[in-house]
Amino acid sequence: MEFLSIPFVVMMFITFVLYYATDRRRYQHALLLMASCVFIGYYHWIYLLVAAAITVFTFLIGKRIHATVNTPRATRWLWLGIGGLVGFWLIARYWSPLFPLGISFYTFQAISYLIEIYWEEDPEDDFIDFSLYMLLFMKFLSGPIERAENLLPQLKKAHVFDYEQIVGGLKTVAWGCFLKLVIADRIGPALDIVLDNVHGATGMQLLVATLLYPIQLYADFAGYTCMALGLGRMLGFKLQPNFDRPFTATSTGELWRRWHMSLSFWVRDYIFMPLSASLRSWKRWGVYASLLITFVAIGVWHGAGWTFAVYGLFQGLVIIGETVLGNRREKLYAHLGRHAGKTLMIVRTYLLFALSLLFFRLTSVGDVFYTYAHLFDGMQTSAKELRLGLSDQEWIVVGIAAVLMFVLEWLHSRYRLGERSSRLSAPLRWTIYVVIVGVIFWYGAFGVENFIYIQF
């Protein structure tokens, strides 16, 4: 069941009404679990079966680890758990005719849950609450990858109707729809024409598509995340944020602390930290080796093939380069002035990310190098070629929407726009709401493909 579909809107409406019909925790949780099962099973009953089996497996292994904690048996149970989860994920990813949606995300949640118990955190005793931690529908398909310490305590109390929270959630959902429908889906088909067949595109088309793809990917994934966070907030949950204005990062290291944060922090805590701790006798070379292994792991998590591995390797090498050349940044700032220096670093970080994303988007390493080699071919291209099949009006809409996205996100980070808008007079506030919804319906591109990250 997709977020942007009539069945989902109907399911969410019914769940919402019944959820707040009572303030009994048990009733609310049973309802949420039922809604989550419907949401998952609506795609395919196999998806629900797989998710349920992994939930039961993780719950039971967690109990065994806790019962034997601080003994060698706990280590064996942990490795059995991780081996089982990763093994099943590999089979589903590479050898199964059916790839269960969301499995990459809830497998990560399951692994972090087991490791935390191994590190002496308490396991969850309530199976219903644990099932919701694993299966809660708004974050099931593409995260955020929740931590037990964040979500499970929120499941220990009933949620009462809170007008401010619900309106805040709706605003976040609307913002997600704006990002997805007005920017990502409007520009996506045009970029697909170029990036699906780089050999048939001109140099300028390749350049434009390369520069705009990060914006499409961001609007798509941040759009999904906003919808997930907003829907969660409407039902009283505060899910982990996934993005923090990544294109303001002045280094690739910083970008990865702002981009797909729930994944970045997961790999930092459960892959990079253990690796770099075990290799710390190698001094900085241990850190570099751990970085490369971690980023290649992030790459191959996205899929099979050399492109994803090289995508990860690219990030790791750039971050190592930044670490080695760290002191030169201060010299650059001293030379150019802080504002100009930072602006230069922001542009540099964006360009490197855009170039690296070609490994993420294209299907072969050869196509990526072909694109690199032809980015500046035929600079005197006609305006018609540059439009990539979109009309002038569509470019104007996308351009204004993208600028609006950056400006509003900057304003929100400084002035908490959502909270401030609540203090406006009712007529003005409702006028703004109607305009935003009108813009989404008027300028949104409906009927385009699903979210990019759903395939992972």
Binding site: G253, F272, S276, A277, S281, K283, T323
Partner: protein
């Protein structure tokens, strides 16, 4: 070993690893308060601490150190073992 003594020694390690001459640590400081103290530099700091005090941290010790105060607690606990 006094906490203040450890704090002074930590100040020296952080200054060298993070290349910051005028750093003044206090126990409440975390990665949010100190530029360049991140997951990349943290492990170098940890190995310098282990070398200076002749201790060895487990992974879970490292993960639980959320600020300078936690670091001092862990160093004290490990030194007394």
């Amino acid at each position: 070993m006094e906490r203040k003594e450890i704090l002074t020694a930590l100040n020296g390690i952080f200054s060298v690893v993070l290349n910051k001459e005028n750093l003044q640590l206090d126990e409440s400081m975390s990665t949010d308060d100190i530029d360049n103290w991140d997951s990349l530099t943290n492990m170098t700091i940890i190995s310098e601490i282990e070398r200076l005090w002749g201790v060895h941290f487990k992974l879970r010790d490292i993960i639980r150190m959320k600020n300078i105060g936690d670091m001092i607690d862990t160093i004290l606990a490990k030194s007394q073992q």
